[in-house]
Symmetry: D4
Subunit: 248 residues, 8 copies
């Protein structure tokens, strides 16, 4: 309810077109209704084509199936993250065209495929074991309508591999760098491109990698400006932020 | 040296216009020269108006003065971060129009002021003690040519204050959220806007805030997608990333 | 044994109504007996209707069954926390009306159901995966005789959901806030209500949530006064404290 | 603005006693204004006698003086926490009856002293070095109108000292336990009383006390139910929560 | 080889009673041979009746069996710690009178049972889930020839239980206190007895107990002098140290 | 008051030799008075010659002076730990024969010097910078009446130095090992002697010594049985435990 | 491509022996191709006999098999680390002479066995449970062509065992020390030899060993110069570094 | 004293050229004297020109002066690390040709300058603030007789700078990489050279650099083999290890 709607309401009350009690009803939970509406509108925005997202971890197979069933009544695309194969099978029963990315553990249901963005997001991993997180980021960016380029396994231990791909990385509008033991990669790429770099530490590694903490700290300490960081293994978050930026 | 320049060079060698030794000179450190050039070009890019940046902490007053002296021979704006008042005084001797932001601890030297961006960066702090980091972010964003809106002291303990400013936050192209004890603020704002949010934990606080770690973790765990994080107290980094995004 | 009882005893000894040896018996473990008695009386207080509580984790199925068997000889209600389904089955054999809350992992045996309190405890969770801890808190508060209102899945990422329930939260006498990745919720609610808020971090989450540590720190740093915190996943503790306060 | 005030306003608009524009002014930031106003009044309600609270740390002497100056125009009591002696001196210039608790580092300005509560809050410390935090809790509870009993230096290393005071602890409506190296005390008292216990770890100690972390963990792990915890050194928070509970 | 032996050797060389090469042999690894011998003699000292100890964790069933087989050729008692049931079965094949403590996970083989010490070691646990560590300590102390008194489940949450047993605790020559979530117990007992107290934190617990770290820190911070600490879950170490002290 | 004293008292009451009121006085705070009294006498027993101990850190110069003044009225020796030079000067004014150990930061007042124990405590340090903690341990052990041998600067980096002193270490009844960067020393000595070893980590060191944590962990993980650990820098604790053991 | 090759190429272009386009092909990715090629050859140089290394963890059996299949087309030896038995079986199908070290979890394929170095690497472990890491280091050093001496189970708890082997340790050109609970061993050996010591902490241990962190810190704090450290459990890294040094 | 010297001595005794008492003198502390003497000579061997090393931190000015005074009576070079300017002034009084490296905080006294090694050690820093640690490493390597090349300020944020120096880094026999916020540099260089790389994390940095921990973890997780790590800020250790390797 913006100011003009408010003016309208009050004038209607003044003119006895709307009763006092009805006015109270409309006003008393203002601006919560607005807030609520805004949340729905903006957070999982209702514009056509924006997918609805389900974080499946910690939910039962039945719960996930039920949520998808409800969502299918609406016209949006659907993205399920951290979904098990069992969840996918249950979803497939009610939606035969649902797809599963086994590495990224995502369920995707595309009702209306749209044109992708012209600019693209580059998703770069240091090693092969970082790929599952990259795939989650990819499916997220993809269903949000972004063109994506994947550049995998170009860690700093063999830095020439990354240099070979530098051109494609530099031409992206946003770069996602995903690394477990080689958090250094975000730093190096951040120093070589002039685009926003979203760094994702992964829990891959052993010993003093401490489940991704070493990579997280390394990324946070990147002197190369232009690097910001999301939670360990948070491929979805990186894909989502990259999408927001890519569409600016 | 791009492919056409390379073709040119080789044809000149073939045609004896350039001697072999001269060719060796030009080629032997290729592509390092290119890389180097790219770095200079892109990382502290040489385009007119991009400031040169000095991280002053850990340098002596003389070193800072010396670096500024050298930089003044070029035509760029200059930004010194984490600069002490003593450093500023020394710089002022050789550059009377240098300015000092005492709270943000920045030295700025503007040789050629340009038009600011139309879109703006919103810099939001949870408390008054987070303002120094915000000022560093502000000076950074400002000298990089961005329009900035400051919204200070709107932490979640009095969440209505933030709601009062929500409009101005939502209309920004990028939002920087700075908080020490109330990392929650990034999470709340991330849930209310659909723009990239750069969260900066600050070392402000006592007890179990652990010098910013509590805020850092809180921000990293933000369920609200769209939030990425930089190092504790890294106002410069946030300002720089926001600038890159704001100018996309 | 208070001072008047002591006076009585000594006068009885003086008057030869009580023998010296008997007096020694009565006095030699004083005040331990008192303390002990106080513990039984106050800690798992013996007043009618107060349940006896078994922390089942780390006990064998037989041990749990044996303890319940003994407790059934007394007239109290019984609460078993962190109980496995196997434990429940064994208990059901000796007490057919025992009930099991699968999500909260509690066994409850209600011998004498009493009137609930008029004032109520609000149990609020940020996400659906925080519900098991909430259910433990609920069963605890419930068997201690409290009226409870559950408000689940109102995390700050969609803060309007919480605002929609704010009324019911504000009218509670005590509020329990349970959150894993969104410790922020305790902070936000603490700023909006003027009742004691008991915050329970949960071990739900991944990456830099560190098994509940991020939520714990976030809650401890809540600037909003009125928030105190219990151990990670300690639904029982929160329910018990809330019950003490609700009955003041 | 509660529902009856709202009804009144709308009826006045209907009856043309209040113009539409004036109504818009009053309503457009509703309920933010209410909330906001409450926030200023100690982030909570406007009841007479509730003090206004200033967290002085991180503010300049001038800022603190300025805030107090503004607050003095209103009729409330004032509490400044973490205030330096310099701040106190500056405040005293504009308010001669301001008082300073040197140990607790609080400034208190009592404009209208009220009757204290009948029930009291017990503030217990393990050692003498925990007293500053206890004094902050005391001044907070006191200016909020609570009767308080102080029991200092009764740590578990000499547990008989605590037993000597057990009666006075047990008769309190709420108990605050403050300890740095002997987090155990909260656990022991929690097992002996049936009232809410607010535990405050302090940063007092050396070596593996890690600035209060050892006490914090010890308190969080208290098996004795009934103990909840606030941030390290957070005497204000404990005093405030205890006040809320004491006045239920 | 002490100085007089050395003098003897050199005089024998001088007198040609011992050849130069033989002298070299005797001298060149001096004093390593002595040190080595001393190690065998003192560390798992060779005096009759001292058991040989095998730390079974990380060894295969066959390795454990093989080591026991070799040890059986000597005349000592044998203690295997952290032994699985499978290891026990394998050992029993070659030594039918081997015994297994299922809770403490120890294998004991007593070839020559000796009189126990007159003074005794008290082993105290806070909870029932601390008993496995207590049993390891018990078997260790027992096979080293010590009289032991067990006092289990007397945590501070019900401190009267401990007071009821205080007499038996006080009369011990050494006290072992074992606790997971209630590290406080070591502190309390340390304040009540004037004997050496060996505290063993256990990894029992959840949430902020961090696998025994909370108890460890709590114990290290015990203000009550007289408490020293061993590694988390190190029942053997506690039993061994207590035995050394008990036999002084 | 033991059982026979109690019997006596009751018989005196019975025989009218002691009045009821007098009996109440004697009994009502039993056994608290006993316990309490013991506490004052170094939290333990009242044996003649046991010093009274003041932990000076966190106390003011006046407080320390006041406590000493009171203690001087009794006939015990006095030990002040973590005392500043200022405290010492203040104490010296009222007690000219007070002594100050500048390295160990202890004040000692010996009213009645007694014979030392025949057996001795060995205090071993790894480096010279560990000596202050060793001196605190020394003064503690000394004033408690123990013979002490100091062996300083024999860290494992030059392990031969320790071997040169091994004899004197082995002949001690208890060994205190103090080390900051070389926690290894406790482990090595524990493997070479068959006496109780009390290990004290010190906060000496830089980098990954983390204020004594590295040494603490190293000591806790000592495979060599016989090593128990006290808090970082806790020279007093080590001296006190060693004294208890040395006098067994 | 070194300078002389470059000179050659340019002269060939000048002499029309090589066409411009061909020259471009050869030069445009220079020196990336060189770097890249070196990377494939074990991230380093192409010298004959250097094995190719596969880090198998996080790869599927099929992936490992596929990589080996490709590598077999070249003439190098092959080392697979962190390989499961299943991986080995799959590899054996395509390469019957592949060997598996079950303890060290390595697959080795030796196509051309070469003479070993004259100088040798000593691999020392503190305990038997550290042997798997030692075997990984051994296989690495071995397939890189180094002579190796293994000295296992000589931890400081029985330091004489190590002294008995000191000669063989001292004569090595490089020493690898591997320890989980006894990080002290690296320190002790570092003080006794004048060769580079590579320390490898292992995750073996329990309680406060924290998965190798205690050993890691202990090793980093070794005062004995000459000790450098690799990641926890990183036997391969230690073997590889030792090989580089041994071949200098 | 090696075996041939021992043989000689014994034969001299046999031949009466050396008396028994003299032989005892020479042998009785063997091999401790050898070991010990080696220790003084930097814990190692007595080769001419090896400097004596004093770790000055934690010593008084007088102590440092005294140690140097004693050392000057011998013919060795002297290195004092972590020395304050005051220490240097005191040393200069007794040794006018002592030199002070203000950045590296080292005192060096060169009595006999020798030829440097032909091969050299490369010391590389990421930033200018890492230079003090580099200077300590330099002075160490230098006084041990090594040729050194310094390459400062070539962090990955401007990776082209490092590539420009890659040749000089690759030609070194050992490489020391020193970095605070850019631990990544060790990883990158480790991937580009085939020489041993000693990585030194520095405590330079802010926020989540945690006093060097982030760099330490980053370096430990370097996938690039060939990198081993020393303690944070341990320039001496790195210089010493590099010297050992450079002289192999």
């Amino acid at each position: 309810m913006d100011e003009s709607e408010l003016r309208n309401l009050l004038e209607n009350i003044k003119d006895n077109k709307i009763g006092v009690e009805e006015g109270i009803e409309k006003l008393k939970d203002l601006p919560f209704k607005d807030l609520g509406y805004a949340m729905v509108d903006n957070h999982r925005e209702i514009r056509v084509g924006y997918p609805e997202v389900i974080y499946c971890e910690g939910k039962t197979v039945d719960q996930v199936k039920g949520i998808v069933e409800f969502m299918l009544t609406k016209d949006n695309n659907i993205l399920g993250t951290r979904a098990s194969k069992e969840m996918y099978k249950a979803v497939k029963e009610i939606c035969p065209y649902a797809k599963y990315n086994e590495s990224g553990r995502t369920i995707t249901i595309v009702k209306n495929s749209k044109d992708k963005t012209e600019s693209y997001i580059a998703i770069v991993t240091a090693g092969t074991s970082d790929i599952p997180v990259a795939e989650e980021a990819f499916e997220t960016a993809n269903i949000f309508g972004n063109k994506v380029e994947k550049i995998f396994d170009v860690g700093v231990a063999g830095i020439h591999r990354m240099f070979n791909k530098l051109d494609i990385i530099r031409k992206a509008k946003v770069v996602i760098v995903i690394a477990g033991m080689e958090g250094a990669l975000a730093s190096v790429i951040g120093g070589l491109v002039d685009k926003p770099v979203i760094a994702v530490p992964t829990s891959v590694g052993y010993g003093a990698s401490f489940g991704g903490v070493a990579a997280l700290l390394s990324m946070l300490n990147s002197c190369a400006s232009g690097v910001s960081v999301v939670n360990i293994d948070n491929g979805f978050g990186a894909g989502y932020i990259a999408s927001i930026i890519n569409k600016l």
